[in-house]
Point group: C3
Chain length 459, copies 3
């Protein structure tokens, strides 16, 4: 391959090494073990049992979240026929960067103790959460960006995520344990704005690669199912110990089950000839997890969770069917994975459900548990309805920061130095990867089908 | 596609929406958070530490079980060359329905408190368990049913499962933590009777699709390995806290390891030219988990577990080799996945092992732990040998309810309104799914191989 | 197939059955439930809560390790185009044997209580760890050995592993919780020596099968990503409760993230035309976990972990690029998976980092936690620098035992009775497996491409 523009030989090593060295220097100067990870501090601490270490409360949830980030998001995006390496591989790269950078940015905003950022399993979960937002945005631009663009996007997006999260959770006092707003709404609208700015008028030239093949759809289902199964852990990972984690996981479980039922019904109703569409199953069935992200920790009730999931599934399939084509044709938003349908609208739905559920919270229902879910309501500082207002404002703030941030970052990514592929070679692994042949060796001869195409693309 | 009979455009949405709305109404009127998930109740409770919440004892096991249900069963069935979408996708659909319905049915029989069903992580595990039985039955009819038939089957099977479970665990006082009887024996014989009633005399017309291809066997191994790895969690998920969960997991671990050794040996011994057969490896290697489902929580000893697993593996391979053809030819039982070999016979073996192990239980061996495993023996109400009798009766009851239930439900499923495929288009995704081409785009042209066949089938 | 030499019809059943029966007899005479798994012992025990059972501290980590062993190693090796069945399948077989045998060998050396081996979740983790070493060696000989050779290798290697582990941890008093030395260095150099002894001068005849295809690389990424995600659990699985497990997991998390950044940078820098090479991504990105295996439990600091991972990634890619060809051409070491680059050199790096980190340990940094990490230093028996010397000696001992053991076992495996494939049919599933066609059925005709080749190979 001789295309200078997309050649990564020097660009990618330089950015990877510079970023990692900066990370190491900043970690060396700013980051410390927290009380539960530091040998001296923990052993000086006052705990009745080793089982009180936060590790045992959160590490299983962390690992489930970790699987969602790396297997879930990574394989969900392998549905494209010729972009499996990039989907899993760039997901892997930018997540590995983003989780480190997020540790610093989130720590800077709400983890400082005496000038140092203290880290442990909760900060690891939060870093993975922030990474999730970046990967949602990745879904919007999938197939159309270079790994360098993605790293640059991750750098800015993580920073803005941390700012938005700080405003919501610390300044406004909103609750959003599963991130309907901070993760899903933010990641989706940020990504949609980026892909709008990066609009490619001649993307039709790559249209034949912007679809799945039989096996690529099965690989994508690995991602879908892992996301679906572990979403209860995602939403409950950073809620308060005890009933809160327990309840959040259960609410999410029922929301997702109801969402799946709605998704299958809607897919058969809207798709061609009454057949099910893999795009819907792979994506819309997950909307129930997104929509339970804010209210999942609240006393949403199991049937309330099911209603939320059911609505999310319906909205999401309708979005894929009717809204995505409009976004592309009228608004010039080329949303490869349909993140608007999976994360955008369900995220907004989740934020609204959270606001309403908060507004009707009563001491009768929450008892002393109110202090865990709505501390300011429990302390009498504010009323429940005002908590609802906080939640609503938080949604507006999130949308604003995401759209404005995506706009600016989109223009940065347009700089011609980042090695983006041309319109004719989007959704194609062989731009950035050594790609082996598609067929196996027969009697010592490698069939040349794939190799030939690859060479053609490269010349 | 213009086949009216299998068209799902209205049928599937209607059944999905009606079922889900009924579920929501029943949940709204009947279901409540239990003590450990309710904010007020938990915070009024008397616990020394948040770590006493049942969430921390069982949630990691729940998630492992969840993976077995959705990835394990789903991908295990992707071995068919043209049925991967349906295997994973219908598994996903019917499991999402069944777990909600099971919450109600199981709650109705043994979770009522003051007229309400109380739910938490243990009920979630039990709902997933019940779903597992439905998925076993799905394996018997795989490739030959419409999604509507599967939902209808799930509705009835879950109900009968809950009845059988109530009789065994509550009325008879049997023990069956890992479900050798309640899940595996029940699910297998129920499904076998259903597939017998749905016998297709001209299934030979679809025979060329009832086999695997290279990559589909690898996808199936994802299912196998996840089932195998997490089976220790499955069997121990609802046993008593402490030594019981610990011991059950370990017994299952050794049973499975020994079973795998037996499976490889038997496969080479019985298969063509001494080569290993993927069907055996994918299925029989799991029989050790099934067979340890009842006795796993007992003081089976590690070597006892290994003997059980070893026998289960031998029986299972022999079943695939010699019994499955007989069942098909003589008894007209078309058992697509061979669930009789993986769940049926090993389930019966597990029930027998459980009866024997219970019958020989002594206070010398169990100490005060007897109260966890055999409470009625510990309290002096009955002797150990009588517990063994209970276990044996439970097996008979399970077989009776499964076979009778399967017979009745099979005839219900024969009603021509459910959109079953004809004999010539079984094991074929494109009946119910939009299926993309098999080959990738080459220079803008989609190779038409698959599309052509799909069109042919549809006309 | 009529090749008598590689026919497994009698050989494999005989070895599987004999080994398993020996295991059962030895377990029956030697193995008992430990305090936390025995019904009587646990209930007689003095514990304030069921949550004190070691199950709750370690079982989630055990399950993650279990996934690494069976999915991680198994699928990582599916990258070969025609060796997917064998990679996952032989991995499954030898791991099932090795974990049972390891229970006995490790128990014999450091789990005896009154003449009996006591087992529980910690012994299960250790057995899986030992199995990991065998699977690393499997990677070195992948594609070139029969399943019988692998079982024989496993039997000897597990034994030597246990000897080496005993010398390091018990006799020398070294620390190596994540096994940089005991698992990775040992497994790699043992396997490299075995493959050296089994050198095949005419392996070029199978060269066309010693490469990947597009989908096989995606299957391999499933293995890679699960290994990467769960490595924090691997390194922390048997460290002390509390801060130790917590800190080890976190150190590994950051080491891996930094390693991934280095791997991508180095891959683009060294590979053809600035493109990323899947071999590097699949393997070198994991080197950060290997290199944090010894020092992960120490107060390595997060940035220290990142430096270690960063170096490991660089070394590993350079090894693939420059060292592997030299090893093959000059030293006649045919290392199929490049275990020298993923486990060998990063394992040695991890051992050195561990020695240095131990040598600079101070009470100031560790506080009372010193007793968990370096008990002999805490008790004043030795100084920290001497602990560093212990670590360094341990590396030398490990290298010696691995190389000498691999040499001897390699010669044993050369015995012509074990059914090894000839040089012309390496990396080929159809020698030991019934392999289905590659293409799906079209209108009832199975395309004969694969079948033809398979027949040709067999004649």
């Amino acid at each position: 391959m001789t295309d200078v523009a997309t050649n990564m030989r020097l660009k990618l090593p330089i950015i990877c090494f510079i970023l990692q060295i900066i990370l190491i220097i900043l970690f060396a100067t700013l980051v410390q073990y927290d009380h539960d990870t530091d040998a001296a501090a923990w052993h000086n601490g006052n705990h009745t049992s080793e089982s009180e270490n936060d590790f045992y409360y959160r590490y299983p949830s962390f690992q489930d979240v970790h699987v969602m980030i790396f297997i879930g998001f990574g394989f969900l995006m392998t549905f494209l026929q010729r972009y499996g390496f990039s989907s899993v591989g760039f997901n892997f790269l930018i997540a590995s960067f983003a989780l480190q950078w997020a540790t610093l940015m989130q720590g800077f905003f709400h983890g400082m103790h005496g000038g140092k950022i203290h880290i442990g399993v909760e900060s690891m979960i939060n870093a993975d959460f922030c990474t999730g937002a970046v990967l949602i945005s990745f879904g919007a631009v999938l197939g159309k960006t270079s790994p360098i663009q993605l790293l640059v996007m991750a750098m800015f997006e993580v920073t803005l995520f941390a700012v938005n999260e700080f405003i919501l959770l610390s300044a406004l006092g909103a609750k959003d344990a599963g991130g309907s707003m901070t993760i899903h709404t933010f990641g989706a609208y940020f990504g949609l704005m980026v892909t709008r700015v990066l609009y490619r008028p001649n993307l039709d030239k790559s249209k034949h690669r912007n679809s799945s093949v039989y096996h690529s759809d099965l690989f994508a289902m690995i991602g879908t199912i892992f996301l679906w199964m572990y979403w209860p852990s995602f939403n409950s990972a950073v809620t308060a110990h005890g009933d809160d984690q327990h309840r959040t996981a259960m609410n999410t479980y029922y929301s997702l089950a109801a969402c799946t039922m709605a998704t299958y019904g809607m897919s058969a109703l809207t798709a061609h000839d009454g057949k099910l569409d893999m795009v819907h199953i792979q994506n819309a069935a997950l909307a129930g997890g997104v929509a339970a992200g804010t209210a999942g920790e609240m006393m949403l009730t199991p049937y309330g969770s099911m209603i939320v999931g059911f609505l999310a599934g319906i909205i999401s399939v309708l979005g894929f069917k009717f809204l995505t084509p409009i976004l592309e044709e009228k608004l010039k938003i080329q949303d490869t994975c349909g993140v608007h349908n999976l994360h955008g609208m369900p995220g907004v739905l989740g934020a609204i459900v959270g606001a309403v559920t908060a507004a009707v919270a009563t001491t009768d229902v929450y008892g002393k548990g109110m202090a865990d879910v709505f501390p300011d309501v429990a302390s009498g500082e504010i009323g429940a309805s005002y908590q609802g207002v906080r939640q609503a404002i938080s949604l507006a703030v999130t949308l604003g920061i995401a759209l404005l941030g995506g706009l600016i970052v989109g223009f940065i990514l347009k700089l011609p130095v980042f090695g983006a592929p041309s319109d004719a070679i989007c959704y194609e692994d062989s731009i950035y990867w050594e790609v082996p042949g598609e067929e196996e060796a027969h009697d010592g001869q490698l069939t040349a089908v794939r190799t030939t195409e690859t060479e053609k693309l490269n010349n």
